[in-house]
């Protein structure tokens, strides 16, 4: 609860109307952002600890969870720098939901296995030039986005196993056509 307190206090500070409406000075906006980011990091530690308790025991020490907050600009070190990785999806709603996943990757073909051992179909799309030009993406290696659909149980989570593949897989390559 100490960890969560950091985010709670950051949210408390951000109740000020200028945080909600964006009428604060730039320096204050930066400070709000820093407090919220720090609080988010602390909560991610709690999530990480929780998963370690919930995941099956592993021979070696279970690896830490990695979180990606820049997926909206197609940047995620965990999926770009690893040829094999697991992805855990948590659903906070009280009914099962489906969700489209878009992960920045460097390869063109991946084998995705759901918790029941079934292979998940996916599609790769090239990352657009507009996205590549965003300055906050400096250092990203991703050339493609891996898109697939996942189902997650109510107030629960599922873990998916994703591995780059050079052989046959259920990844469909997109057909890109310039119109003009």
């Amino acid at each position: 609860s100490l960890n969560i307190q950091v985010l709670k206090e950051a949210m408390g500070v951000a109740q000020h109307h200028d945080a909600v409406s964006g009428t604060e000075k730039q320096a204050v906006a930066n400070d709000y952002a820093k407090r919220l980011a720090r609080g988010t990091l602390e909560c991610q530690k709690v999530v990480n600890d929780a998963y370690k308790k919930l995941f099956p025991k592993q021979k070696e020490v279970p690896p830490d969870q990695m979180f990606c907050s820049l997926l909206n600009i197609s940047m995620c070190q965990a999926t770009e720098n690893n040829k094999q990785f697991t992805m855990t999806v948590y659903n906070p709603i009280g009914r099962s939901v489906g969700h489209w996943i878009r992960l920045p990757v460097i390869g063109k073909s991946y084998v995705i296995t759901d918790p029941n051992g079934k292979s998940v179909p996916s599609q790769v799309l090239p990352i657009s030039n507009e996205t590549k030009k965003i300055p906050e993406r400096k250092g990203s290696l991703a050339e493609n986005e891996l898109v697939f659909w996942v189902m997650v149980p109510p107030l629960g989570f599922n873990t998916f196993f994703i591995k780059q593949s050079s052989g046959p897989s259920k990844t469909q390559k997109s057909v890109v056509r310039q119109l003009d």
Partner: protein, 288 residues
Amino acid sequence: NADIVIKNQHLSLMFDGNSGQLKSMKNLNSGASIPLQQTFQFYIGHPGNTTVFEYQASGAYVFRPLTSAPADFQPLLKKRTFHVQGQLVQEIRQWFSPWVSQVVRLYDQANYAELEWTVGPIPVSDGLGKEVITKYSTGLQTNGVFYTDANGREILKRTRNHRDTWKFKTSEPIAANYYPINSRVYIKDSNSQFTVMTDRSQGGTSLQDGNLEVMLHRRLLYDDNLGVGEALNETGADGKGLIARGKHFLFLDTVQNSGALHRDMGLRLYMAPSLSFTNSQMKQQEWS
């Protein structure tokens, strides 16, 4: 140059083969269909003026466009529109200006169209602050009425140039009709409803019947003198100004069906699943 159609089990979107821009939207289940154009435009932010009582610039507290109509972007000499096809997702990648682009996405089985807009950095070397909007023109007969939400709960009816509690009179015909859009805005006629869900709180209005405009990004050069003490002009990571990126989710259906659509989507959007990753080499068999 033939028109391009992307469709799935529920929706069909048509794009002009020359301009690559949206042309119509159709719900394949209920048959609801509308002409749908989408443009990006910008208002020039008012710099303020010298008379003491009217020194009101457009800024963090106040939206005050200099002109009564938004400006269009320079026509692009060279367009770059791409059509990305696949079984799970189809995209039309559009380019409106060197600093405005958008991807229209239609996922397999989705009952909405996802529009991912990217705006910025807004150039201000001409000394003019700019407030960028996107405008959806649907042809629906709305009689000046549109609807916005309050925190995703109460839906409020808005009527152009009107206030319930006082005799409407204003010197700002644009700003006076702007309202907060916390998560959704929609227009409807007797049959169909066109709903736009946003991924963040934005401002918007309906200045012509059948139209909806939503403000996406602002960059202004003057303090509006109401307390911040500085212009709304964040320079961002590389000092050139901020690039804003976000999403709109478009629904088209009968009026009867639309409520359930956007309420369900609201839950799925604003309580979306969270992702985390590990570099574990464990196989699924071991895991299970």
